[in-house]
């Protein structure tokens, strides 16, 4: 399977700095995205530390299988998934200790979503309100749950989707990296088909574009980088109120090979 990905990040049209960070490491089939919080440069620092720590922890573990796992070992998931959760624990500690040392008590935090592909299995971790979607056929599903106050209200039936969409409290997260010495992580495993498309994005994208708009872009663009660019452009056209980041991952490139082109020509 030839993995293909495209990634793009943009400050947007309102903010002055880009507090989103991402790391795409195709040789490890690892993709990480983080949205930082906290004024001045704190948000940028937090998201950078988060993404770097996740990648480095996984890289170290790949080289040294006996690297201790951080956090409680999880049952019913693969070693790779356990490692990815461990990497998020490492990221939380790193952001938390940096906040204690440098930010002089200033609040500093970050969201994180990360996926790691292994054959047909995808490990997925999430803290905060960045999202992971999967497009299968023409059906787009959000694989993560937002750890935001409004999303919790919706889940518990206290608020409708519409109310949540217009709420002033959309920015209130109930979980983030760096706030406490430990963090609760959503960990899951997903089946990945060769024809699936995975999208990681920050809330700057999902505030501006509906799921239907995102779905249309992913369906329209065979090239993953073009899809990522298009998502960012559309979000900016819609207002670009926040930093916007999108990573589009396809386990099997849709771009046609020479033989594929000939085959298509014959079929047409």
């Amino acid at each position: 399977m030839q993995l293909e990905y495209g990634a793009q990040s943009d400050t947007g049209c309102v903010r002055e700095t880009n507090e989103d960070s991402y790391r795409a490491v195709p040789e490890m089939k690892l993709f990480v995205l983080s949205d930082g919080m906290g004024g001045l440069e704190c948000g940028e620092v937090a998201s950078r530390i988060a993404t770097d720590t996740v990648v480095e922890h996984c890289r170290k573990a790949d080289a040294n299988g006996s690297l201790p796992l951080l956090g409680e070992p999880l049952e019913g998931v693969s070693a790779l998934t356990n490692r990815l959760a461990s990497a998020v624990h490492a990221a939380n500690r790193a952001v938390h200790s940096t906040a204690q040392e440098t930010a002089a008590g200033r609040p500093m935090g970050a969201t994180v979503v990360a996926v790691r592909l292994s054959g047909e299995r995808m490990s997925l971790v999430n803290v905060g309100d960045s999202r992971v979607y999967c497009l299968r056929g023409d059906d787009l599903q959000q694989l993560t749950r937002d750890h935001s106050f409004v999303a919790e209200q919706v889940r518990s039936g206290q608020m409708t989707h519409e109310q949540a969409g217009s709420s002033q409290l959309q920015n209130v997260l109930v979980r983030a990296l760096g706030i406490d010495p430990t963090v609760e992580i959503d960990v899951s495993e997903e089946l990945l088909l060769p024809s699936d498309t995975v999208l990681l994005c920050s809330d700057g994208l999902t505030r501006e574009l509906s799921d239907a708009e995102i779905r249309a872009v992913l369906l329209d663009h065979e090239d993953a980088q073009e899809a990522a660019n298009r998502l960012i452009d559309l979000a900016k056209q819609a207002g670009g109120g926040d930093n916007i980041t999108a990573i589009v991952v396809r386990p099997q490139a849709k771009t046609l090979t020479a033989w594929g082109r000939i085959g298509k020509w014959f079929r047409s």
Partner: protein, 244 residues
């Protein structure tokens, strides 16, 4: 008043007094004495009082009910009899429980066992728990919450097992090497559908190469499974349930 003592090996698991209500024995949770073992039928047998006699009736169970080693259909029980059901033994004794306010004082007997009352598993953990309970002098009737094991039972179609325990966060149904529920046959899809366990311990079925139906309805999006739901995908029917 006669008493039934449920034993596994040398451990006493439960004691039930037979009053006016009959005492049903079986694997289903509705029974007054629940024996969680695959060798025991859902409703296996019953013990009841009839004109002053204590009767035992086997409900045509697959693996049989034995009294003092003899397979029986319906017999009169007496104190000291040993009833064998699966690997468990139920010993009949005369209750000499002085705490029982109704024993021998002529008042009508009360129904001792309530429905859904207690469950005992013959697992190692459960036995350990029971030993601990007895060591602290508490009643062994205080059973911990029953262990529920999410399970897929194959009702139709070709798979490599008759049923599957959903241990993992991700369960794939298909021909693929990573599939837990392995479909057989040349034309079975590699990955027909997937079941995800979410953090609230609920299970969701989602489409992969096929769109599964739940209770006859094709699903439009990942759908939460309830006990008794029948999943129909790629020619197999799977029932979702919680085993005790």
């Amino acid at each position: 008043m006669p008493k039934l003592v449920l034993k596994f090996g040398n451990s006493v698991l439960r004691e039930v007094t037979v009053g006016q209500n009959e005492v049903s024995i079986g694997r289903s949770p509705e029974n007054a004495i629940v024996i969680d073992n695959p060798a025991v039928s859902h409703i296996h047998a019953r013990v009841f009082n009839e004109e002053g006699r204590l009767m035992l009736e086997d409900f045509g169970s697959l693996n049989g009910t034995f009294v003092n080693g003899q397979r029986v259909k319906m017999v009169t029980l007496k104190a000291g009899d040993s009833v064998g059901i699966g690997k468990h033994t139920i010993v009949v004794s005369e209750s000499r429980d002085l705490d029982d306010p109704f024993s021998g004082n002529g008042k009508p007997a009360v129904a001792a066992p309530k429905l859904n009352e207690t469950v005992m598993l013959d697992t190692k953990e459960r036995r350990k728990f029971l030993e601990k309970v007895r060591a602290t002098g508490e009643s062994a009737q205080v059973a911990p919450a029953r262990l529920k094991v999410p399970t897929l039972v194959v009702r139709r179609g070709r798979t490599d097992q008759a049923e599957y325990t959903l241990n993992d966060k991700l369960t794939v149904i298909g021909r693929s090497a990573m599939a837990t529920v392995k479909l057989k046959g040349w034309f079975a899809p590699k990955a027909a559908a997937q079941i995800n366990r979410r953090d609230d311990q609920s299970y969701y079925i989602g489409a992969a190469d096929r769109v599964p139906s739940v209770n006859g309805q094709p699903i439009a999006q990942p759908t939460k499974l309830a006990p008794g739901d029948i999943i129909d995908v790629a020619g197999v029917h799977l029932e979702f349930m919680y085993r005790d």
